[in-house]
Amino acid sequence: MSRFAPQIAPRLKAALAILVLMALVPVAAHAIGDPFLSVIANRMLVFAIAALSLDLILGYGAMVSFGHAAYLGFGAYAVALGARWGVTDLLAQILLGMVFSAAFALVTGAISLRTRGVYFIMITLAFAQMAYFFFVSQGSLGGDDGVALQGRSTLLGLSLDGDVTLYYVTLGALALVYAGLYRLTGSRFGRVLKGTRENSLRMQAMGYRPFPYQLVAYVIAGCLCSVAGVLLANLTEYVSPAYMGWHRSGEMIVMLVFGGIGTLTGAMAGALVAVGLEEVLAAFSEHWRLGFGLALVLVVLFSPEGLTGLAKRLGIGGKHG
């Protein structure tokens, strides 16, 4: 029953398996002559990064943010603004997106964390909607319609125009984000975050003040999500306020529910499944959201811990971290 796995934790194995499988997608897409498959898979990877970042605060910190898509938007607009200012390097744009995100998360997080439960959900939603309407009002950035990019970013001189190149860059980013969060959630900081999720009063009685830890986690999550935004803008070559609307925030929570919260691997798997399901269902009907909703109801009713819980029951790992 020990939670200290002897060698590699099952959930880590599952994550590695997912990454390896995803690495094979462009090869398979090439073999069957369907390049669109890679584009869908790339979308999955982007949202896996976003879902991972949300899992840090929602799953490990019990901070249910309903405004996480705002950071997706900051990342995307960092690409649009960066390109306008002559900054086309991906890393520089990621840095820019992180600066926007950190500033926004620091201020709104400090205020939001004064509230709990449903009030926290509502206040994060409100702040994200403020960011949304800010970009809607920016005529020079296309306002409501958004703005098409002149082209994709470059990475240290390497052009990301090729879909396969962008795909593997995204996969690399996902692997890095996963590895970073895996370490972070197992670190001292991660323990304090988890402890606060379990019982804040107990943590205070041990001598902790939870607020700074929660705020730092909130900022880290925002910064990591903006990386997904930078990559999403490159994938679609388009930036619009729709990326940061509340629907999108809701979808990210749904991804976590699909995969199972607080395991990282579940977030990744959930994003893959949710994006895949959306594509499959949308091919059948324009009312695909109906089927999506049904799937969500089934998961919540029959496997409240999502895919992770299902995997655990089938005895193939994915323990709660």
């Binding site: 029953m1 020990s2 939670r3 200290f4 370490r183 972070l184 197992g186 670190s187 001292r188 900081f189 991660g190 323990r191 304090v192 988890k194 402890g195 999720r197 379990e198 019982n199 009063l201 107990r202 943590m203 205070q204 009685a205 041990m206 001598g207 902790y208 003040r209 830890y213 730092v216 709660h320």
Partner: protein
């Protein structure tokens, strides 16, 4: 005996009800001071004010000569003032060892460390194991706290409090809900702790209280009705009338 804890005219009202009604009390270094009283006398509210969970409406709390009335819980814990909870308050989804290791971590180095595996910190784990050893829970270290029996959870409460390396321990009904052997083991533990720590003990088990306490204060309707040695309190006619009942 030098005074470690001094409470001066402490007051707390919930609406019109004076839950703590001018309590003054001093606890000497090394003393085990029990606070007894009927249900609703305000014992837990008093502990909550001593630990910093609740802010008093009036009065002062001095600890080692320092006025700590307005310090928060974390600041008091760092000064060596730890508490256990009447209603078990643990981290249910974490292992027994992790529960205690977090208490060790709180007083040893920064917790803004983001990379190194906390579970692999040998020094932290060793100290956590020592605290578990002390309360007799060492063999349950790898179990989730939620999987412990009620009595074991009471033991873990104590281990967590001890792991903060306290100078003053506030114990809120550590024996609540335990029986027989479990209670005996906890009483024996408190007997051992008594020699190296100052303890304020709230407890309903009168046998345990009279066995352990150096001094006893009786709290009735938020005020101290009597303070003294166990013998003096037992003989006090006011206490017998107010609390111990006819047959005591």
């Amino acid at each position: 005996m030098a005074e470690l804890l001094e409470i001066r005219d402490l007051r707390k009202n919930f609406g019109a009800l004076a839950v703590t009604d001018g309590v003054s009390l001093s606890v000497g270094e090394g003393e085990l001071h029990a606070i007894i009283g009927p249900n609703g006398a305000g014992k837990t509210t008093l502990i909550a004010q001593l630990s910093g969970q609740l802010a008093p409406d009036g009065g002062q709390v001095l600890y080692g000569g320092e006025d700590i009335t307005h310090l928060d819980m974390a600041a008091r814990v760092r000064r060596g003032l730890a508490r256990s909870f009447q209603i078990t308050a643990l981290l249910p989804g974490m292992t027994v060892l992790e529960n205690v290791a977090l208490a060790v971590q709180a007083r040893s180095g920064s917790s803004f460390r983001f990379w190194r595996d906390a579970g692999g910190e040998e020094i932290t784990n060793a100290q956590a194991r020592a605290a578990l050893e002390e309360v007799g829970l060492a063999d349950r270290a790898a179990v989730l706290a939620s999987a412990l029996s009620h009595g074991e959870q009471r033991q873990l409460e104590l281990a967590v409090a001890l792991a903060t390396k306290p100078r003053l321990l506030l114990l809120d009904e550590p024996l609540a809900g335990t029986g027989g052997q479990e209670a005996e083991r906890l009483i024996a533990l408190m007997q051992r702790l008594k020699s190296r720590l100052t303890i304020v003990l709230i407890e309903h088990d009168m046998d345990a209280v009279f066995q352990l306490a150096d001094r006893i204060s009786v709290l009735v309707y938020g005020a101290i009705a009597a303070t003294g040695t166990p013998e003096a309190v037992r003989a006090d006619p006011a206490v017998r009338a107010a609390y111990l009942g006819e047959d005591a």
